[in-house]
Symmetry: C2
Subunit: 213 residues, 2 copies
Amino acid sequence: MKTLRVPEATVTRLSIYSRYLERLDRNGVTTVSSGEIAEGVGVSPAQVRKDLAYFGEFGTRGVGYNVKDLMRYTKKILGLDQEWPLILVGAGNLGYALCTYKGFNSRGFKIVGVFDNDLTKIGKKIAELEVLPMEKMPEIIQEHKARIGIIAVPPRAAQDVADFMVKNGLEAILNFAPVALNLPEGIEIRNVDLSVKLEILTFNLGFKSAQRL
Amino acid sequence: MKTLRVPEATVTRLSIYSRYLERLDRNGVTTVSSGEIAEGVGVSPAQVRKDLAYFGEFGTRGVGYNVKDLMRYTKKILGLDQEWPLILVGAGNLGYALCTYKGFNSRGFKIVGVFDNDLTKIGKKIAELEVLPMEKMPEIIQEHKARIGIIAVPPRAAQDVADFMVKNGLEAILNFAPVALNLPEGIEIRNVDLSVKLEILTFNLGFKSAQRL
DNA sequence: TAGATTGTTAATCGATTAACAATC
DNA sequence: TAGATTGTTAATCGATTAACAATC
């Protein structure tokens, strides 16, 4: 792997190519061109080739890419050739949905601990897993060698949860609470905001109406 | 509103500024500078001013921005000065979580119909709403003048649901299924992929380990 | 007035695309 | 060989940032 800086957009697309290749493979397709991938996921063929070029040469000129091989390469690049144990905080509706979300399991993600500080939730079961009090987190992190945490709590609690996760050794956080978190250098953090994309839609609908006037 | 093309990243940030301003307002802050907003959401002060400049002049030189006013302006720009009725298809765990998600309501989004084609789900209640069969969708869309649909079904069903939504007049779709949808020109579509950001994290964790070698 | 902060221009930076030699 | 498609370079495009005049 080159130590060149890879644009985050490239990694995002790689994840999408990867899933598309899985589908092609399931459908029995053995060879694919950059143009077909591009068509399938909605980007340009040059984009596909450029993205892949950050990591190596995976195709055959005049022929295209072997679907199975490229699928494996892309998953390997993304780190999906291994299982990733996840620590989840927040056993509300969103937490429940994430626990049962098949899209995680199929990519090698496995939630190994669900935590909450709400006494009415602790002890309940979510898909095989008992909701645990926060104090148990260090133990579970150690047991599974977890490195990634997911925050699915209300905004006001998110920073405390993040601090607690970092204190206990987690290195990366996926945050579903709509707030910017303050974390020490070196901790990877990404936000998933369920409402932002919806607001892009409302913006665009309004914008189009305005232009029609 | 200028008819200039606005970068999508600007709209995304506007949504984030807007939420941050709401928080400042709740905390009783009356005036804020571009530098403080930048600090609060993690971008550069120039970025904040540039983003706002697409839509007008909202500040006072030497002073900053009035929090309440700027909050109202940003919400208006995003189309959040009105209620948006939403049509949701998919009454599984994710659908359930979205129905009860407070982040939607607080921004003026209101799910007015939940649909599924699973007979075991139809008739059940999710937070005041009865899960309806797909055939009822046209009626509900008309009744509420809904323009936006949310897809929370498994990937293989997503395209059919999208086609059905478009056929019944919806103009914009938020898609939680991890597939690229094919839709006619003019239909706004955005995907929310719960797993992609997680894969960016695993990529970065792997990348960092590789660089340490 | 002196200090502060906006709005905006120009410079910089980075990402996408077009084009084509390499090569199957 | 002729046709196809990759990998890569150079050109283009667009977004971010630095800098500063305007002005409170």
